[in-house]
Symmetry: C2
Subunit: 190 residues, 2 copies
Amino acid sequence: MRKSKKERQLLLQETIADTPFITDEELAEKFQVSIQTIRLDRLELSIPELRERIKNVAEMKLDDEVKSLQIEEVIGEIIDLQLDESAISILEIKKEHVFNRNQIARGHHLFAQANSLAVAVINDELALTAKANIRFTRQVKENERVIAKAKVVKGESEKGRTTVDVKSYVGSEIVFSGVFDMYRSNPTQR
Amino acid sequence: MRKSKKERQLLLQETIADTPFITDEELAEKFQVSIQTIRLDRLELSIPELRERIKNVAEMKLDDEVKSLQIEEVIGEIIDLQLDESAISILEIKKEHVFNRNQIARGHHLFAQANSLAVAVINDELALTAKANIRFTRQVKENERVIAKAKVVKGESEKGRTTVDVKSYVGSEIVFSGVFDMYRSNPTQR
């Protein structure tokens, strides 16, 4: 059943607060209204469009600075970073990321985004991947935007290692998940 | 103890037959002689230099043709392919594959080589990675040459999946191993 406009706008605000990178198309589908309705809702609520929301986040200074690699070596754009805690990055899937034949994103690009985020979150000059257990749960297509979220898992790793959990989403759907076991030069910093 | 020249040349021939992409440097270390000695041995035995050996292999027509992706989409160069059986590829680690800071090859390039080989070995128009369990066992440096060997594991997969085992080597040292669980559109072809 369709919600009243008031209900919908309330839920819309909550949804965008929880998942700021959701597209108008995804919102329209979620609330079973037209994209135009979502745009009007956003206007009334003074919620900027997605492109602006991403820009705002990207322009905020990160709380922490990447230590383990050069920031331009990260695949995707880091928009949040708490060293040894968590990190978020965005990767736009373009033509060069997909198979020619079916426009499905190639696994190694999703892996590269997640893996480099797992490196970046480590508060150490040296961080290298020892092993990883990964899962591709939904095909990602050209022009989709993948949000990777990394979380450092506390107190479960082998000596000298740090476990990083990465989940990647398109909208609210999980497309990739991985558990990365990272070497670091200075494990006592944890 | 050093071997006699005759013994060494016999072992050298065997070693190159077993691991055709071994470098003169690696051979020199293995037999504890100078690189110059290895070169003279090769001359006497009429064994071409590594670059030629790779070219010869690359110029041989592959027994099978890649079906699941376009051959130029494979990361590395495929030098052997038996569809639904096994495949081998070579990737030269260059400047663009390593971290600026320490010249260590980035994990996602080794992953990409192995993953695309696991796709290429599948005898199907559609092959996608469902999950993977991977391990980086030794750092790979700039200018090293990684040989990935994929083997299709028979009769152990979930329905509609094919398991591919990939091991990657520098010389005789294993640097990466992975078990890839592949979706395919036509599992009955196995």
